[in-house]
Symmetry: C2
Subunit: 344 residues, 2 copies
DNA sequence: AAAAGGAATGGTAGCGCTATCATGACAGCG
DNA sequence: CGCTGTCATGATAGCGCTACCATTCCTTTT
């Protein structure tokens, strides 16, 4: 009877957005049938389904995902937390994740910790509040509060980048082994005075792990393993500057093992500008396998890490888990490849 | 009386997560007061506030943002839609956005269209369903459905990357002018046989706009403006390969104006490998001002576009608008800078 | 023919939070 | 002393959707 809402005691609808009930009414079915037509199409008759879809089209209905998530306590959101977007490595992992997750209808909620574990905790708290269906985070290190919070969370957690025993799922590579690999290569090439150069190893602790591997190999041969730690972020510029610094501190240096390709390429290009011969005067090695390294002359010796692949695999495994399938392995090693160029 | 829920007719709580009501009970206040203590701290007495915060701490309460958003039809989510993550340009804009938005407590919902406007429409639909408080999208071109959908949406919309009359807010630069700028520089340097090389200009239509500017300048001088369009994405590799192609198609070429620095740097490095002198045999220019261009020899002539700055400014203007302040200008030109290196 | 099973649909009651209005307490005012 | 205004708090009623159970109608089984 009271069609018009003049008395409308407690009207609260702010936006005049179309609701599922209106769609249902237009389609001549109950709201719950309309809901099913959209979310479980196989559970309604074809006639109901088509009339609902028509009504959706006609009214321009946009499902309120917030309401849906609250009612079902599920969502198609996946939280992705990385320490930095400046470092292209993480971006490439995100790329791989994004590609795979979006294809399955998931949306990415992106967070950046700036290498701050407390910040990470705050982000995790916020993201859990969105009842994400999973969380992907870069690295195995978290602060205590974060650890407890996540332990009590009953959704999949995927830790990427480095290999190890995580909280739940893990896709990554063994950075210590990568460091050993490159150090071994340098020694095999006959170099004995080898410096490792990294940038902010306390933040980029994976580069620190590579140094650990590097050091072990050298020490096993009775060789010193000097470390030069830069206080800037890794970049071509920083690499160029570090070259000078290394040669001043350790004039006998024959080879430099850089923590990443940006540094290494920066140093290589700087060496050329200074008329130094690579690898004759100084050998240079990097890590990551960025395209840039293949385009400089001589080509950069580096370790190729499958970053996008890591993202894709992580996403795939996560989806597997989310769709209720059995997970046989929680740890996945994506490996790495030594790429020998002319720079060593 | 009935404290235990044995008969529990229609219990539906799936997760045993702490709710605000439990916090309120522990703090000895009503749920609404607890809500206020957390969201409008100045609207409750200090005693209430502290006891609520204590209870939150003690119980490890994590606010359910989904429920909050539904009730208030507001959220701290901001949708960000870009055409690609492979192109670092967009990533840098995201970086700028992210930095500024996260500092203000906003979360980013990230979408990638893969240069497909229909995909963009789908993403927009989905994101509107999350009742985002704003939407940021790269570019001014959208399909019709998307346009209508967004016109009826009553939240701020920010279109970035290129300058022009958008739907709402806009931060970007004039790509036609940038193309003109570089073409003028090349002509001033005395080059007359100039080829423009771009990759998939129908997708990267902003590179196409730069070509338009380039062409106009050349034609005004009565010079031909040949275009070589590559079918791959812009990359060092593609740039290296295109060099050959250009020299075969247009043997007289004196200068190549590349659509971006990746292509240009790839070509420059390839030229060096082939023993060609840059700029003596062939001059090379790019666009973007990537760090790489400053580290090759000779330095790459390019146009510096303030990408992170664009993201930061866009985020700032958006926040301004979201906090209800007056917006005086809807369009913001971030400009560009010609960087002359030794390559032209 | 009666019982049992299945498919399509709907009614009801929340999900956890906040907007709205109502209340009571107390200060300031003429 | 009543009147108005401000402040802190609370009761109530949703936000738009879906889980859960119930109902109906039809097909299959013994």
């Amino acid at each position: 009877m009271s069609r018009d809402s003049t008395q409308a005691s407690k009207q609260r609808r702010r936006s005049d957005q179309i609701t599922l009930s209106q769609v249902a009414q237009a389609a001549g079915v109950s709201p719950i049938t309309a809901s099913r037509a959209l979310n479980h199409p196989d559970k309604v008759s074809e006639s109901a389904r088509t009339s609902v879809l028509e009504a959706v089209e006609q009214l321009g209905y946009v499902p309120n995902l917030v309401a849906g998530s609250l009612a079902s306590s599920r969502s198609k959101l996946i939280a992705v937390i990385v320490p930095s977007l400046i470092n292209t490595v993480f971006v490439e992992v995100i790329k791989g994740l994004q590609e795979t997750l979006e294809a399955e209808g998931y949306q990415i909620l992106l967070g950046n910790t700036d290498y701050d574990l407390d910040r990470e905790y705050q982000l995790v708290r916020t993201f859990l509040g969105w009842s994400c269906s999973a969380l992907i985070t870069a690295g195995l290190r978290h602060n205590h509060a974060c650890q407890t919070l996540l332990n009590n969370w009953d959704h999949p957690i995927m830790e990427v980048m480095e290999l190890g025993k995580g909280m739940d799922l893990n896709v990554g590579l063994d950075h210590v082994a990568a460091g050993r690999c490159m150090a071994t290569h340098l020694i095999d090439q006959g170099y004995r005075h080898i410096v490792y150069v990294g940038a902010r190893l306390s933040q980029d602790y994976r580069a620190g792990m590579r140094y650990e591997g590097h050091k072990k190999v050298l020490q096993a041969k009775g060789i010193e393993a000097p470390l030069v730690e830069l206080d800037t972020l890794g970049s071509l510029q920083a690499g160029a500057e570090s070259l000078q610094q290394v040669l001043t501190l350790y004039p006998q240096t024959q080879a430099i093992h850089f923590a990443n390709d940006d540094l290494a390429a920066g140093a290589l290009l700087a060496a050329q500008r200074q008329g130094l011969n690579v690898p004759g005067d100084i050998a240079i090695a990097g890590f990551n396998g960025l395209p840039l390294g293949q385009h400089v002359t001589p080509q950069l010796t580096t370790i190729l890490s499958p970053r996008e692949e890591m993202g894709r695999l992580a996403a795939k495994e996560l989806i597997r888990r989310l769709s209720g399938k059995n997970v046989y392995r929680r740890q996945h090693d994506v490996g790495f490849t030594l790429q020998v160029g002319g720079s060593t």
